[in-house]
Symmetry: C4
Amino acid sequence: MLSKNRIEAFSDGVIAIIITIMVFDLKIPELAEHFTDAELHKALWGIVPKLAAYTLSFIVVAIMWLNHHSLFDKIPHSTSKLVWYNAFLLFGMSLIPLPTAFLASHPFLPEASMLYGLVLGFTALGFTFLRAYAQGKAKLISYNQLVQRSNIIGTSLYLLSAPLAFVSVYLSFAIFIGIPLWYFLPDKFQK
Amino acid sequence: MLSKNRIEAFSDGVIAIIITIMVFDLKIPELAEHFTDAELHKALWGIVPKLAAYTLSFIVVAIMWLNHHSLFDKIPHSTSKLVWYNAFLLFGMSLIPLPTAFLASHPFLPEASMLYGLVLGFTALGFTFLRAYAQGKAKLISYNQLVQRSNIIGTSLYLLSAPLAFVSVYLSFAIFIGIPLWYFLPDKFQK
Amino acid sequence: MLSKNRIEAFSDGVIAIIITIMVFDLKIPELAEHFTDAELHKALWGIVPKLAAYTLSFIVVAIMWLNHHSLFDKIPHSTSKLVWYNAFLLFGMSLIPLPTAFLASHPFLPEASMLYGLVLGFTALGFTFLRAYAQGKAKLISYNQLVQRSNIIGTSLYLLSAPLAFVSVYLSFAIFIGIPLWYFLPDKFQK
Amino acid sequence: MLSKNRIEAFSDGVIAIIITIMVFDLKIPELAEHFTDAELHKALWGIVPKLAAYTLSFIVVAIMWLNHHSLFDKIPHSTSKLVWYNAFLLFGMSLIPLPTAFLASHPFLPEASMLYGLVLGFTALGFTFLRAYAQGKAKLISYNQLVQRSNIIGTSLYLLSAPLAFVSVYLSFAIFIGIPLWYFLPDKFQK
């Protein structure tokens, strides 16, 4: 039987790296040796939309860490399959910096929102599978229809945001911002 | 109820990554295949002002780690809100490498000191909010007016350094160096 | 006597960094200020073969983490030599991103498969040596011929994939994909 | 009083990041779209001297981790000053990738060996100060003249290698390789 602690510690390490290094990618572009005021201001203000994309992903990963935390707190011990469902989830999470950087560079490009929606949908799917396994066949935790339904809705919305981006990127943005907001509603934390 | 240990471990992971990778950003620029002595010496001496900026940020983040440590040592257990105040603080901290790199490249540019002051002020605000929550509504720790007043002064000084940089960057430098020095005064560690 | 926990925690940290940052290397190439649809689609589809290489290495490192986990779970305490065998293994693992990036950029170049096979063979050798030491002279764990034979076969196959790449890279690919698949066979987890 | 565990865990995190990401810096240079066999072989063989520099630094950092481990194992509790001596040491260690990358790019440049010797000497000085504090004023560990003398010799040799590089880089190389070898002499581990 695998110890649960090392899996939690390993996941914490991976999530800490993802959330931290992602923000590290945010850089002020190198200025030429002699730069004008206009070039300087362009470099400084260019950070603002990028900061928005990175802040959003930071919040999303922080929510995921909290969910991971609250799921594993209830799990009494690990199994080999749990390790693999967890690895699948961590793989999805480790991809998040990729569409974040792309969205930060091209905020109004539909393909950027599509990629962001697909990767977050894939990661939300990882959570749905992990919980389905833990509360289903493995009976590691008690069945919680409310949380699992919320996982399925989150996954569906993220995946829906991908085609919607070609209608209007603002529809995708509404989903990207709405889902984290939903997690801040007070009763969510009683679960 | 959330376990305090995983929050501490996660925060330690995030802070360890910030403090370490920041220094990693410090590189000797690639030399051309055939370089002159002058190019070599320019590359080597160019490290000195950068090293100063990175050393300063290393000390600042180390002090923050120590403060985080000493705050969480007194907290008996975690709450959901504490996790979010902590995430807000870690977000601020993870931004520190951004103005550090900019200050390292353009030490005498007022905008670089402004950005450094704003990000450190934002992070110091994170500490102020975290302590205000923990000692206020949540009553997790006993009220410590001295430490909180020092947090508020630190936040104000950092935020003040941003406009001051346009008067003289040396005023900002005095604040950037003065605040860490203040933490080394012996009686600070009795808290 | 060295405590086993700090070695496990240190190894977990190193492996978490390897597995996470490797995927971070996967980036959509910077697009020019004004790009055509063709350039955009080339950039997006160019991710697919790279994603394949990174996914493969993610799975390989996850299996290694699981093996490391299951080996150290049985070890009662550490020794100085164990630390060095472990460091040798971690060194091999920390090299994995190098051939992964090269294979991702040049999937059909025999030299890329050769390098991938050599580094993974070197790492598998690290596992073989670590177990040989732990179950041999040090008598830290009981002798397990089955697992050690599987380590030796894995090492040999990876090393064999290097020259085979010059016959056909598909032979190397078969080995790279076959070995992880072998670890998913159900009975492997009973060990 | 500060808990010793969080300092050990934090140090382990920092050292794990240093040792892992340093090797990550080792990359095969990007090849042009259409490359010749000569360009490919130059890129592949160019890795060999770099690998030597990274391997050396990996071993040096691994030895430092082991020394840190063995020092903190004997320390009963932490103090504020110990945290700062430890931070000084970690700062030195986090600089190691800088001269490693420079030495890897320019192995026979005296300035590269000089920088490597200075940074390692600075780090060895960090160990000397940490132990001097712990066994001296703070009386955290019992006085061990043998280990401290070996720290002082190591520091002196590294600092000596900096001017020696201008006589011959091979003299510096002898010191860089000799010091780690010294740590592998069997009786060193009885301390």
